[in-house]
């Protein structure tokens, strides 16, 4: 097995549509068509309450995306630094990064959200959306760090040796030789983390952030249409993640050109 074929195992169980499966009867297509038809037909046949729910949540969808995109961007930066720290030979840097990963991975995201929002709120006042983004990226930065670490480690040490022997220093080796190759293996799991993060943003609804779920809960609490509301909420989330998982699967397909030869 050459270096270029190495892949990171996707461990979080998020199902990725098989890039090679182009048939119409794949699980992905069935799920997508089912979701879209339910999202269209339910409000058509019963505008009250299905249609009303859909009209109630669009600003929540915006907030969900806002939190997701801001968090993933921050988490990528944190993850890169952490990943480099985890493989660094600098004792201090290495220890700090490892400690961060250990601590964050050991605390449930929900608890972290409460902590950053309410516990730290006594000392530093951050607006709700900022608190949500900080908490999400702080948590996902640690996961991302592990992805980066695995990705960088998947590049054979021979590459580093060759680069060093050509006169590159450590940093140049990392930026010009290792990272450009590691990206290919890192991107698919990063995509998965992106989807996982999007789903986990539903947790920020406890911070009174008006995301999709909170908008739904507000609607349900006023109309008592629990079944209808949560059906629509689930379908909206499903539609978003289905589209995203397809995009990631396509990306993975493109990045796997070395295997397709």
């Amino acid at each position: 097995m050459s270096d270029l074929e190495k892949k990171i195992d996707i461990g979080d169980g998020a199902a990725i549509p098989d890039p090679k499966d182009r048939g119409l009867f794949s699980a992905w297509w069935i799920a997508l068509i089912g979701t879209i038809s339910l999202l269209v037909f339910l409000p058509m046949f019963k505008p009250d309450p299905y249609g009303k729910v859909l009209l109630f949540i669009p600003d929540g969808i915006l907030i969900t995306f806002e939190v997701t995109i801001l968090s993933i961007s921050l988490a990528l930066v944190i993850g890169l630094v952490t990943g480099l720290g985890r493989i660094s030979t600098n004792r201090f840097f290495n220890l700090t990064a490892s400690l961060y990963v250990e601590v964050v991975r050991g605390i449930p995201l929900l608890v972290q959200l409460f902590y950053i929002y309410f516990a730290l709120g006594r000392f530093v006042l951050v607006p709700d959306l900022v608190a949500a983004v900080i908490a999400m990226s702080f948590c996902y930065g640690a996961y991302m760090g592990e992805v980066f670490r695995a990705g960088i480690k998947s590049i054979d040490f021979g590459q580093t040796e060759a680069s060093l022997s050509l006169g590159f220093n450590q940093r140049q080796t990392m930026t010009y030789v290792i990272l450009p190759q590691a990206w290919r293996t890192i991107l698919p799991p990063v995509g998965n983390e992106f989807i996982a993060l999007l789903k986990d943003t539903s947790l920020v609804s406890i911070l009174a952030v008006s995301d999709i779920l909170r908008r739904g809960r507000e609607y349900a609490s006023e109309s008592f249409n629990y079944f209808e509301t949560y059906t629509m909420i689930a379908l909206v989330y499903l539609l978003i993640t289905l589209i995203l998982s397809k995009l990631i699967s396509n990306m993975e397909h493109r990045l796997s050109y070395y295997e397709r030869r």
């Binding site: 309410f118 709120g121 607006p127 507000e218």
Partner: protein, 244 residues
């Protein structure tokens, strides 16, 4: 012979005993609403409504059992039969009456506006463009949503809204006045105050909610409420939990 008679008697008394044993009514309580219902430091659910129901149970012959339930799903749980009734400071509203049945009123409330101590706000109208918090699905939150020009923010628990007001993330909180008094006069007495009572036009009463058509539980409850009121126990409880 004597033995047999005795045994029969014992069996009878056991049977009668169980028949006489008071009916249990399971109440869902979101125990985050002091002083009406909350969890004390001994992890017991206590409060005005809890004592009220215990007294009503004594009068009407039922034993109330309290089940701590989060407010967000409390009405859904009633509809699906997870418990017999809700005792959670539920205001009787027309919209809710369509989804469930209510007992006779047991407490009258108004909506209070709570702000920071140094705030000059005197009414909801002064809060244009500001964030105002309330508990999700409560009449307080509905009042915020009905007001024009402000940003409503819904919380899972009223305590979380109070904390956000305390640190300054939001400008005001709206909730039932006994709860407002508990937070503004006791818990956060150095930082918060009650700015005003919001006039909604109609009298707002708490009632115990039961699943639509559950007249058996409803009759028992109404019998108990009437007896408690007739004996003046509710006034005693008011003194105990709310003061004056």
């Amino acid at each position: 012979m004597l033995k047999k008679a005795l045994l029969t008697l014992v069996a009878l008394s056991v049977l009668c005993g169980s028949a006489w044993a008071e009916t249990k009514i399971v109440f869902a309580v979101d125990a985050t609403w002091p002083p009406m219902e909350f969890v004390n430091s001994q992890k017991e659910i206590v409060g005005f409504a809890i004592d009220f129901l215990k007294a009503a149970g004594k009068e009407a012959g039922f034993t109330p059992v309290f089940k701590n339930t989060s407010w967000d799903g409390i009405f859904a749980g009633l509809a699906s039969g997870k418990y017999d009734a809700i005792s959670s400071s539920v205001s009787i509203t027309e919209a809710r009456k369509k989804a469930m049945d209510f007992s006779a009123p047991y407490f009258t409330v108004q909506q209070a506006l709570i702000v920071n101590k140094d705030s000059s706000v005197r009414s909801l109208a002064d809060l244009k463009g500001k964030k105002v918090g309330g508990q999700i699905g409560t009449t307080g939150y509905f009042a915020i949503k009905a007001a024009e020009g402000l940003t409503p923010k819904s919380y899972d628990e009223i305590g979380l809204a109070m904390e956000d007001l305390n640190v300054g993330r939001i400008s005001a909180v709206v909730c039932d006045d006994p709860v407002a008094a508990n937070y503004a006069l006791i818990k956060y007495k150095d930082t918060l105050k009650i700015a005003a009572v919001i006039k909604t036009g109609e009298v707002e009463n708490y009632g115990f909610a039961v699943k639509k058509g559950n007249s058996k539980v409803l009759d028992l409850l109404n019998k108990g409420i009437a007896a408690v009121k007739a004996k003046g126990i509710d006034l005693e409880l008011k003194k105990k939990w709310i003061g004056q």
